[in-house]
């Protein structure tokens, strides 16, 4: 694409931002051009989101200047940012569930409230870029992808022509992602400047015109996407050469370990989340679970871990000698007392797997604090474990007395996985183990999971990146709307087949979604 008449829509100069002693951005320079999609790359904690938050008025830079269309501006609040035409779609949606799409979109705008007029304008925007939004639909009725669309329309409605998207595809299916990309391309052709933060390299390649790389809060460089390769970009992000291969050792002597029969689960509102799910997870094997988010993955893992009330069906643990023990109706403590060593890396790391305000030692103690016969806790083994995990998994932390919430996403996950595999499990459940993690940390986690597999652990791996699922798993079970739509041999299937099953129940077209 020719860019002779490039105008720098945004020019950030020498931006510095510190949080306490942490330097999130160190004299960063970044130009964003109109009619261009820019991928902002960097590992976790490299300062991408912080930088964009300063552009959208959420943080205020300690030093540096921001030029919008060549004029220096001071962005004190999101309102200032919007006035300058900058809109950001955050990783965590900022929508009000009980309001409709229109109400959410006009929320906080000044002037008279005119829902009809607003709806008309929203439809206009949707038509222009090919969005599908029902202005009257309530947010709680929407799928993740629809919610995201509302977020994007929201910033467009406010007249944004500089659009920032923070990991927009993390929660989308391949089909939804493609749709989003088409919209983004249309917006680019319309002359808007688009910044997308993502960890998925193939998306960078297929979507963006230019990439900019941050590392440890510093600006490393930028280049045209067509002139670079995944390897080059990754090396720039990490700072040294990395190899990007997921090994898949052949399962050694697989034996049934977890048997699930006819499992049905309703959530608190009485909605069926799992329906008649049956499968077997074998030792020494990774069973990948694919599906659009919210299709019962969470409930399935929590049911096995003893955290979810089930309605029907059985879950049994098969001992090495073939004898079976029921897991259903038992809480995690009872399961542990039965001598079943079951480890669970939940999706919500800081809300379920760890305690954010506690330090590493106390988090290690979560699983083991009951040991010993005195009424007092013994922190010594936990301290040792924390030290070992930090050392073996290369956790970046000021020390083992740092509260885990201060660590970056990848390091939090290493702490959690480290603790869970320390108990020498026979079953390992992981939910979105690499969500939000950068390439380097992701591969560390894959290695750890593979190591467990080699030790004969039955691994159930709920994932969202199909490429990874296909490379890592031995078998893939696809869930759709709480039902099993297929169990495939990961070595023989392809992405298309899995993608199709994700939106179909037993071969039938899934209602309500395309």
């Amino acid at each position: 694409m020719e860019k002779e008449t490039k105008v720098a829509a945004v020019s950030m100069k020498n931006i510095t931002k510190t949080f306490g002693s942490v330097i999130a951005n160190d004299k960063v320079n970044l130009d964003i051009y109109k009619g261009e999609i820019l991928s902002l790359l960097g590992e976790n904690g490299s300062g991408k989101t912080t930088l964009m938050n300063m552009l959208s008025g959420i943080y205020f830079p300690d030093e540096g200047q921001i030029f919008i269309n060549g004029k220096e501006e001071v962005i004190k609040s999101p309102k200032d940012a919007l006035r300058l035409g900058i809109g950001m779609v955050h990783q965590h949606f900022k929508l009000i569930d009980v309001l409709s799409a229109t109400e959410n979109i006009i929320l906080g705008l000044e002037g008279r409230l005119n829902i009809k007029e607003a709806s008309r304008k929203i439809e206009e925007i949707c038509e222009k870029y090919g969005f599908e939004v029902d202005p009257k639909q309530k947010i709680y009725d929407m799928t993740v992808s629809q919610k995201q669309t509302v977020e994007i329309v929201k910033v467009l409605y406010r007249g944004a022509d500089i659009l920032i998207l923070d990991e927009p595809t993390a929660v989308l299916t391949p089909q939804e992602t493609e749709k989003l990309f088409n919209v983004l391309r249309k917006m680019r052709d319309d002359g808007k400047a688009i910044v997308i933060i993502t960890h998925k390299m193939h998306e960078v390649e297929s979507l963006s015109d230019r990439v900019a790389v941050l590392r440890n809060g510093q600006y490393i460089g930028s280049m045209l996407t067509k002139d670079t390769t995944v390897t080059e970009m990754t090396n720039m992000m990490v700072g040294h050469a990395v190899t990007l291969n997921i090994v898949r050792p052949e399962p050694v002597n697989p034996k049934p370990r977890i048997e699930v029969q006819g499992l049905t689960v309703r959530n608190e509102e009485g909605i069926v989340k799992l329906k008649d799910v049956s499968f077997t997870a074998n030792s020494g094997e990774i069973l990948g679970i694919a599906g659009i988010s919210g299709c019962g993955q969470k409930e399935l893992l929590e049911a096995i871990a003893g955290l979810q009330v089930t309605e029907a069906g059985t879950i049994s643990y098969v001992e090495d000698d073939g004898s079976k023990e029921m897991l259903i109706g038992k809480d995690p403590l009872k399961i542990a007392e039965m001598g079943v060593s079951l480890s669970f890396v939940p999706e919500d790391r800081l809300g379920m797997g760890l305690v954010g305000n506690m330090d590493l030692t106390d988090n290690m103690m979560l699983r083991s604090f009951r040991q010993g016969h005195t009424p007092f806790t013994n922190r010594k083994p936990s301290k040792q474990l924390a030290t070992d995990v930090v050392e073996n998994l290369e956790v970046v932390t000021p020390g083992i007395t740092t509260p885990v919430r201060r660590l970056s996403g990848g390091n939090v996950q290493k702490v959690l996985v480290g603790r869970e595999i320390a108990s020498a499990p026979t079953v390992l459940l992981t939910a979105y183990a690499v969500r939000g993690l950068d390439i380097n940390s992701s591969y560390t986690i894959y290695d750890l999971i593979n190591e467990q597999k080699k030790k004969g652990v039955a691994v159930i791996f709920v994932g969202e990146d199909l490429d990874v699922l296909m490379e890592l798993s031995d078998r893939i079970m696809v869930l759709c709307g709480g039902e099993v739509s297929g169990i495939l041999d990961a070595r023989k299937t392809d992405k298309n087949e899995v993608g199709m099953l994700m939106t179909r129940v037993g071969g039938k077209e899934h209602e309500g979604k395309e």
Binding site: G20, V22, D62, D331, L333, V355, L366, P375
Partner: protein
């Protein structure tokens, strides 16, 4: 359209964890500033020399041996209630029912003294009082905890309502047991026999509460930081989901902790009735059930810090009332001074967590 959008003069930046001595310094400075402001305001509004005011504050708290003892006894009582509430707060259970739990503990202690005083020996009566007070406080803690655990009711409301029930019960029994009839108060119970009066230790009638406070402070510090139950409380307080995930029974922890919290409040009721006042009135807790909430939070749930917080509050409270009597000021005046000081102490937490980043000079020149 605004023609110029200037950079703000300063913006707020989160601080790194401050070294303890700096944080302490900021707090000390806050108290100093508060005292200076109190002095200035006093001088402006009343014309009294501020140095005299400060002197009165100190004399109010430590002016005589008796005053010093009373100050320490008051500190002990406030500290005890704060310690009792702390495990609940650490569990993020908003127990603002300390007042009621103390009152009910005091009421049953008085009931034992009145009803059993002439039937059983002194030692047995005291034993009954101890058991009954602890149990009554525990029940007052148990009821909101049970509803919270079973049906997730709002504990702020239920503990608060339990306060009113306790107050009304005390008011009712005041009439039942009033001496002499028609006086509307119970008066000193067992004044002649002293049955049910908690023993004086080392010949001092003030020392018992202080010793109990020291013991409970150490107990609570160890319990919260080094016991398995204390660890469970922290986990439940931080995240119920995490607690369930590691197999902690959240309902059980809530109920157990509130039993402890309530029982300790009941113990304070016992000390107030059996050890200090030898009577019971609806105002015997004197709002300390609420002040203790402040003490507990100000100290960030650290029992050792609570010793200083309660010292500060009692010291100021006694000093302030001394000012109002010495200089013939309205009693509300002492409340104003206490208010100013608390405002500074709580306000300084902002400067411990955040700092102000001022606009850089270099940028000014450019503009």
């Amino acid at each position: 359209m605004k023609e110029k959008n200037k950079e703000p003069l300063f913006h707020i930046v989160k601080r790194d964890a401050l070294p303890w001595y700096k944080a302490l310094g900021i707090r000390f400075l806050a108290i100093l500033l508060a005292l200076i402001l109190c002095g200035i305001i006093t001088t402006i509004t009343t014309g009294i020399n501020p140095l005299q005011v400060y002197q009165s504050i100190v004399l109010g708290a430590f002016g005589s041996v008796r005053k010093t003892w009373v100050t320490f006894q008051n500190i002990a009582i406030l500290l005890l209630i704060a310690l009792a509430l702390t495990p609940a707060f650490k569990m993020k259970f908003w127990n603002i029912g300390g007042e009621g739990q103390v009152l009910i503990g005091g009421l049953v202690a008085a009931a034992c003294m009145i009803c059993l005083g002439d039937k059983l020996s002194n030692a047995v009566v005291i034993l009954c009082m101890i058991v009954a007070s602890l149990a009554a406080g525990a029940i007052w803690g148990f009821i909101p905890a049970f509803f919270k655990a079973k049906w997730n009711t709002n504990e702020t409301l239920s503990t608060l309502m339990m306060n009113y029930i306790a107050t009304q019960l005390v008011a009712f029994y005041t009439i039942v047991w009033e001496v002499p009839k028609g006086s509307g108060k119970i008066g000193i119970i067992n004044q002649n026999t002293n049955v049910g009066w908690l023993p004086q230790i080392f010949g001092s009638k003030y020392l018992l509460s202080i010793v109990v406070a020291v013991v409970i402070t150490i107990f609570m510090y160890v319990y919260l930081n080094y016991s398995k139950q204390g660890y469970e409380i922290s986990v439940v307080g931080e995240s119920e989901n995490t607690a369930k995930y590691v197999g902690i029974k959240v309902e059980k922890v809530i109920i157990r902790t509130m039993l402890l919290s309530g029982a300790l409040c009941g113990l304070v009721g016992l000390l107030l009735v059996g050890g200090i006042n030898h009577t019971v009135t609806t105002t015997i807790a004197g709002g300390q059930g609420f002040t203790a909430v402040l003490v507990s939070w100000m100290s960030k749930f650290n029992p050792l810090t609570m010793v200083f917080s309660s010292f500060l509050i009692i010291f100021m409270d006694r000093g302030a009332s001394e000012i109002s009597t010495n200089f013939g000021l309205n009693h509300s005046y002492s409340d104003i001074l206490t208010g100013i000081i608390l405002f500074f102490i709580i306000g300084c937490e902002f400067f411990i967590t955040y700092r102000l980043q001022f606009r850089k000079k270099a940028e000014k020149e450019e503009q």
